[in-house]
């Protein structure tokens, strides 16, 4: 990051008052099921207390992955919410088994418990003027955008979803997106349909044919830049959910900062507290 970034955010809320409701909870949740959905991703469904199920699409939980014989993750791991259901008392995470945290987590079985902290962060804001949004998800971003698709459906928005993955078998949630009434288009590296050039043509066609008026994305810096370009050419706004290595997860340590464009220059914002959802054009 350039050293010239001399500003820090002014977005920290100073409006907290003692005695108010605590919005972030640390609880032990029992695992109801934990299954592979393909060769890389697992779906964990937790029985969760009502207190933690007052979630917004785009928010995340901070998970205390277990210490195992092979893996000893020390920090918690941030994990975006795949689904939350207050009625059924369920919370689910769809995650890629990648590093020490998720590998340790993958060893948990139904009946085990997992210590979770959340819900955390600023979720998606589906503005009134955004009636015909396009969701563009790549890889694990598919999980992050799933609750947003449900929310769009409940608000009666006309939804289009482009799901991108390396190969067809790694595409996830396409049926779920269809269930929410989305027109789903799948693109993959294997089929040569996921490149920026072909996607740009595809999306500009959709703007024409379906009147797309907002972009929501997660999972790819390359696709975020592409949507910024298309958005500025067509005057279409949107939001992006971002990731960053975290330590505290609730805004105290300032480890997870990223730079964002503002009118008076770049500023650092905390992904955990000020995000993880940000204005599409401000992301750098």
């Amino acid at each position: 990051m350039p050293a010239s970034l001399c500003a820090v955010p002014d977005t920290t809320s100073a409006a907290h008052t003692p005695g108010r409701q605590h919005s972030i909870h640390e609880v032990e949740a029992r695992i109801k099921s934990h299954d592979w959905v393909n060769g890389q991703y697992r779906l964990m469904v937790l029985a969760a207390p009502k207190a933690v199920l007052d979630c917004r699409p785009g928010q995340f939980f901070h998970l205390l992955c277990p210490q195992t014989d092979r893996f000893q993750p020390y920090f918690r791991r941030p994990m975006s919410i795949y689904s939350y259901d207050l009625e059924k008392g369920e919370l689910a995470f769809l995650y890629k088994v990648a590093g020490a945290g998720t590998r340790a987590m993958a060893e948990l079985e139904a009946g085990d418990t997992l210590n979770i902290v959340g819900p955390i962060g600023q979720g998606f804001d589906i503005r009134q003027e955004w009636q015909r949004p396009l969701l563009l998800a790549r890889g694990v971003g598919l999980a992050t955008l799933a609750p947003l698709a449900r929310e769009c459906a409940s608000l009666g928005r006309s939804l289009t979803a482009i799901c991108s993955a390396r190969s067809p078998e790694l595409l996830m949630s396409t049926e779920l997106f269809r269930h929410y009434g989305a027109q789903v288009i799948t693109v993959t590296d294997a089929e040569g349909s996921s490149g920026v050039e072909s996607l740009t043509g595809l999306i500009e066609g959709l703007i024409e044919s379906r009147g797309i008026d907002a972009f929501f994305t997660c999972g790819s810096a390359r696709l975020t830049r592409m949507l910024q370009d298309i958005g500025s050419r067509h005057g279409i706004g949107g939001q992006v959910a971002l990731e960053q290595h975290m330590a505290c997860g609730i805004g105290m340590c300032h480890a997870c900062v990223r730079p964002f464009r503002r009118a008076d220059g770049a500023i650092n914002l905390r992904v955990c507290r000020d995000g993880p959802v940000f204005d599409l054009q401000e992301a750098m």
């Binding site: 990051m1 050293a3 970034l5 001399c6 500003a7 820090v8 002014d10 920290t12 809320s13 100073a14 907290h16 008052t17 003692p18 005695g19 108010r20 605590h22 919005s23 972030i24 909870h25 640390e26 205390l64 000893q72 993750p73 020390y74 920090f75 918690r76 210590n115 902290v117 960053q244 290595h245 330590a247 505290c248 997860g249 609730i250 805004g251 105290m252 340590c253 300032h254 480890a255 900062v257 990223r258 650092n268 507290r273």
Partner: protein, 311 residues
């Protein structure tokens, strides 16, 4: 019910559990009622605005973390107008942590933040990131005495000196603080350290080096706490690697009058309220009526651990 209160100089705390600077801010009020703590200690601020260090700013190790956050700061004005008023509704005393690049700047800044609502000033003379190659005031007794003396003459508030484990002269630095008029010592800040990824060959912090904290640091800072409590008459506050109630007990036994909990809050945000609850039970289990009765009680063992216990 045991008396959990403790005195740190002129301040009486309702219990000895408080946060370590840098691991606590207003956001934790989203998790629990901050008034359950003995005191509040804010993240170190500087007079001027600072953006902090390049990412990655943290990395995890086995039972420890490294950080090189670099003290991002919104500056003195923002702090006085926003952060200090936030804590006004709480009963717990507010301790503010400050840093500066020179002794004169430290003194000027200490005077500027000596405002109503502030109960004490913790001076971060030990942060290993803020100066080149990790050098800091608290490395040597001479520079420590100079900066503390200037701060002392600039404020009427209690001055707590946060010491560094990166010195070979722990006792001399502690005594320099006392001589110069510090009201308490905090032992200690993080220890300068480094991590390299053996597979990629990459240094794991954007700032090359950073401060080690977490359970792995505890034996070192516990030793410093013991040394300082023996060497000075002013109160010592233990800090370093506390995550379990036994850690709290050990620091009190080493001579600390209170403790600061840091990295453990990142692993479990409810660590501090949990420790307050467990302290009550720990005192009862020992048949002690107060925290006071535990302070400085560590002694040499008459006999070594039996083989059966060790096994």
């Amino acid at each position: 019910m045991a008396d959990l209160s403790t005195r740190v100089g002129a301040l009486t705390l309702k219990n000895p559990i408080m946060p370590a600077s840098g691991t606590f801010s207003e956001e934790l009020a989203d998790v629990f009622d901050l008034d359950c703590l003995g005191a509040h200690v804010t993240k170190t601020i500087t007079r001027e605005r600072r953006s902090g260090n390049p990412v990655p700013r943290v990395c995890e190790l086995n039972g420890a973390m490294l950080n090189s956050i670099g003290i991002p700061s919104k500056g003195a004005g923002w702090f006085v107008n926003n952060t200090i008023p936030f804590y006004a509704d709480y009963d717990a005393p507010l301790v503010i942590s400050i840093s500066a690049n020179t002794a004169d700047d430290f003194a000027r800044f200490a005077a500027e933040v000596s405002v109503p609502g502030v109960a004490a000033i913790e001076v971060n003379i030990s942060c290993p990131n803020i100066e080149d190659h990790g050098k800091a005031f608290a490395m040597r007794p001479g520079s420590t005495e100079d900066v503390i003396r200037k701060i002392r003459s600039a404020t009427d508030l209690p001055v707590w000196a946060k010491l560094s484990p990166n010195t070979g002269e722990v006792v001399e630095v502690a005594q320099a603080c006392e001589t110069a008029g510090a009201d308490a010592l905090v032992t200690a800040n993080t220890m300068l350290a480094m991590a390299i990824d053996s597979r990629s060959g990459e240094i794991r912090l954007g700032n090359l080096m950073g401060g080690l904290s977490g359970p792995a640091l505890k034996p070192i800072t516990l030793r410093m706490t013991y040394q300082c409590a023996k060497a000075v008459a002013i109160p010592v506050i233990g800090c370093g690697g506390i995550s379990r109630i036994d850690d709290v007990i050990e620091y009190l036994m080493a001579g600390a009058r209170a403790v600061q909990v840091g990295t453990a809050t990142f692993i479990s945000p409810n660590t501090m309220p949990r420790l307050v609850g467990e302290l009550e039970a720990a005192l009862a289990a020992r048949g002690l009526a107060s925290v006071e009765a535990l302070i400085g009680t560590a002694r040499l063992s008459g006999q070594t651990t039996t083989l059966a216990e060790y096994a």
